[in-house]
Symmetry: C2
Amino acid sequence: MQLTEREKSLFATLHEMKMEAGSHAPSVYMIRDRIPDLEIKVDACFLSNPYATDLFIERLGSDLIETGELRNVLEFYPSQNHHVAALLERTIHIDKQHIFVCNGAIEAIQAALHRFAGRRVGVILPTFSPYYEYARPDQEVVYYTLSRENDFALDVDDFIEFVVNNEIDTVCLINPNNPNGGYVPTEGMRKLLHAFEDLELVILDESFVDFAYEDEQKTRRSFATETVEMANVMLVKSMSKDFGIAGVRAGYAITSPERVNALVANGYLWNISGLTEFFFRLLAESEFHEAYAALRLRYLEEAGAFFDALGGVDGIHAYSTKANFCLVELDASIPIEILAPLLLIRYGVYVRDCRDKIGLEDGQYLRIAGRKDFENDLMLEALKNAVGACREVS
Amino acid sequence: MQLTEREKSLFATLHEMKMEAGSHAPSVYMIRDRIPDLEIKVDACFLSNPYATDLFIERLGSDLIETGELRNVLEFYPSQNHHVAALLERTIHIDKQHIFVCNGAIEAIQAALHRFAGRRVGVILPTFSPYYEYARPDQEVVYYTLSRENDFALDVDDFIEFVVNNEIDTVCLINPNNPNGGYVPTEGMRKLLHAFEDLELVILDESFVDFAYEDEQKTRRSFATETVEMANVMLVKSMSKDFGIAGVRAGYAITSPERVNALVANGYLWNISGLTEFFFRLLAESEFHEAYAALRLRYLEEAGAFFDALGGVDGIHAYSTKANFCLVELDASIPIEILAPLLLIRYGVYVRDCRDKIGLEDGQYLRIAGRKDFENDLMLEALKNAVGACREVS
């Protein structure tokens, strides 16, 4: 494979941007600012259901744009946290006193680590980096590493033993886990929560729970109802993934009324935007909910088929996933430092290079999100071609 | 005056809502939810330039809705804090390393009080309630009260002495002040900042600075350039007021690079929404800026005339203001507990009853924002009629 001069220069620009973006991928906006003529055809860094985005945009059009109501949503202050929690109560059937509405799940994660966590925070690697980045200076993060040989699956008993042996008082669980999509089924999760009931804080991040299921009907299984009375648990939920609205910033946490009140009284009274409030109003509608349920199933089916096909690409190993993305590992013959930027600049396919993730630094891992059917096809084709091109190099 | 049965029942509903809303006014949404058939004609609780809202909505229409770009703004993650700070650098001519972009100024206020403030926080009353509500449990808030007899103006020398005598290590200054609109001119502010240069933290809240001026050309005078090298100062700026976009949630703070980095590294990397980023992109455009400058002048002139006229209403005293609102005091013959709800339910005019503000509890103070010309006229008319009706009662 020959890189053109332009491609070489774009490789360097991308590298610079990544240095600036730290432990996260540069945003699509940032790439567009720096490389305006690069066409990004598929953003598969972005973990969301694009059909749900369609639904939201459609309702935004009919309810806010056509009616002229959009102005009010942007001009005036949104409601206070408790008022939006009351809207959410109808949707998730959890008493509003237990609900903290947030400007993206990340806000709840940061607040929980700063206000409710103890001194020794147990984090399972690989993970979503804020779980260790946002720790307070007086906190020690204790890492438990999932093993590649065990398909990055969590061994529940082994982890419980690790928490006890290491005198960990705060545990962060993401289920399904990001970035590998590993899933702890109901019985295992019950065992974990029971074993951890005397800890200061257990964060259970269910941001990807809409994509997991344990039966053929693909029934969504959240622990919200089971954890609501567990005073040390904070269940965290992003709406960016399942509803495909990361730019809106919407999430919630379920925890004890004491913890909810402590947050609302102290800095998080008006933390959401008018569009976030609009979204939670839609979510309280059964019509919206039913439309979403159908799109969830469609997306799950297409994503499942895509992940199966990924595993079939020569030179690529796909790890098992119950999320809407798949962690894949490249053969030694396919250098990730070539493949990842090549996919973007030659084929317009943006995937997540995982070398900045603790626990995956030395590997050849990409995280690839399922997108719409035609985008998945385009990614498969691009991946095959790019793999071929990389092999010519080596 | 006779209240109808319906009016009596609405009085009770409003009272309940206020009890729930705590130290803030119930939002227009909350009122609409509870009293769907009440028409709010003017929301003068809301402190904003409505002409600037028009400008933003127009650009939202042409740049995002007509182009279909709105979907991208809502679907994808916005850029990181530093990247948006770079956009703002072009607008405010402050090095981006000193800029922290926030989800409304309130986010910066809470973060500053929690992370950078000392143990004794000096707050000038009356004030914006988060300045005392968001104090940490280990902080003591020390109040300095402005005197009604002195037109609620700040006596700079007396306040400096108060800070020294009370061993205050953190000071919160709002200029112009909310809720009275009092303004400390340039020389006085310089004296304050100089006197406080050894404190842990000085928060200088310039959220209303676009409405203040010291010359006939109504030139905007911010302290951003002067404070940028003062490592203990955090200048805080809401965009909700001058740009009329409270529902978008946009603000920034100017402080030392160390403090900016401490925030961004620890919880505030992706705190803004896609629409907030869009707003900061507009702001970086000179065309948008010039259009805004003209609307600022128009609004200032109309608001000034309105405040003058308010002072002429029989039974009402208007305090001097350099903000876009006016604190007025009602005669003893006009009971505020009747006038404020009556204005809303009979005339559709929503003004801020200040009895929940520390320092104004026992008084008869309303805070009234300037709105569009025809709304100001409507308010004046309603106020005269409502005052007349109240006097019939007593």
